[in-house]
Symmetry: C2
Subunit: 229 residues, 2 copies
DNA sequence: AACAAAACCTGACAAATATCATGTTTTTCC
DNA sequence: GGAAAAACATGATATTTGTCAGGTTTTGTT
């Protein structure tokens, strides 16, 4: 396992790439490697975060509990992404929980290091800003989808998202398998509705399944459905 | 009309407050004052923005056109807020249109000045970052509301939002009057559904109206409805 | 392997919401 | 001030989605 941030490939994909050697060394000297098993919480909504989590491996769901007791998954965070930045920047408790979808390895970086670097290195701050700007755009898109697309379209979109971001195995099954409930919580619908729609897609041969694993069969038709044709 | 940014009260509310005297002078020397009438577009989705818009007066709706031809209003931008920051930072065409809800006055600040300051003054960058972090949190909340609350709850919430952010006049009517269609586009529903719900609220005496003006009558009951009681 | 727990699935029905059609009121503009 | 346009309003109906209730299959554990 590579233990020096300076040589960590993961860093290339996030805002830490804008740090200089000295700053990276400081991160490296203070980071704590942590492991979470599938289903474990990295942190929970309302918690004060003392640092950020740089994902080395695995996927976490970032979700928020709604008044009616359902979780809404706002984002999936993958290798290379940094979680908890927002809360550290505004010095507020985090508004989201992070739960491991599969086994997750992260490097925890104390907030003092992040905040200190932001005051000294404008390039780093700007890089963080760019990432946050990107997240904000994605959030805007989600809002529009939520209100303007049907549940069916959103379910279809969720599978396309999984294919495009995590790929498929030799048999064509999605590399990242979510439970039906998780998919429902991404899409913002009832679990039963989600299952029903998946069944319908299977009947129409847009998808095929094997246990909880899902494969996209007719990608174009699925995309047309998303686009409203 | 105050023409020097150094003395502009509006600046106190946005990220420009982190600029030093010299930087502000530069903004002041390069800014362009612009006026837009109700209904006019400050900029449109897909446009490249050559700068940011600092709102001196009035309210604009930031919206995105969906595939089915409906506008989704993602945010309302008011006095003191800066529009277009996101697009300038990531150097992409803007993902949102800005339309004046009432007469709007803005100062247009060329992007070179904003970007230049971000490279030199980490405090400014950090301040922009804080504002964007705040926007991102709000966006997350909107996502959860969209998927977990009923249209009725969201309409009620929209009115509470208008009251809390723009206040009411002597008679109790909301200072910011939106058309039923705009409210529907904030809430993400059909205009008819929105009208119907307002009618229902009137019957229950939660609201009263006079033309398109709306007043909240029973605030507590309205809030209970939002919270799901 | 056997059991329990969790996840998945389906039907029946109820509730929420959209759509279409049509009429009324308000606003705008000449 | 009056005509035209836009916004508002409501009924009837169709569609979508959620809820509840009851199954089956899969997964995990001893």
């Amino acid at each position: 396992m590579e233990t020096r941030c300076e040589n960590c490939i993961v860093r290339k994909f996030n805002s830490l790439r804008a740090m200089n050697k000295e700053e990276l060394k400081q991160v490296s000297d203070n980071k704590v490697y942590k492991k979470f098993k599938k289903g474990e919480a990295l942190f929970e909504e309302g918690e004060k975060l003392n640092g950020v989590y740089c994902v080395r491996n695995g996927v976490s769901k970032l979700s928020k509990l709604s008044a009616n007791g359902k979780d809404q998954i706002v984002k999936l965070a993958t290798t290379g992404e940094v979680m908890g930045q927002r809360a550290v920047i505004v010095e507020e408790p985090t508004n989201l929980s992070a739960i491991a979808v599969n086994d997750v390895e992260v490097c925890f970086v104390p907030k003092e290091i992040i905040v200190g670097t932001m005051h000294k290195n404008p390039d780093f701050t700007l890089e963080v800003l760019r990432h946050m700007a990107h997240d904000l755009k994605e959030a805007d898109d989600v809002i529009v989808n939520m209100s303007q697309k049907t549940v069916k379209q959103r379910v279809a979109e969720a599978f396309m998202y999984l294919k495009n971001n995590y790929g498929v195995d030799e048999e064509g099954f999605l590399n990242l398998t979510l439970s039906r409930e998780d998919i429902a919580n991404v899409v913002g619908t009832a679990t039963e509705s989600c299952i029903r729609i998946i069944s319908e897609f299977k009947k129409k041969e847009l998808l095929k399944t094997s246990g909880k694993r899902v494969a996209i069969v007719k990608e174009k038709e699925l995309q047309d459905l998303i686009d409203g044709f």
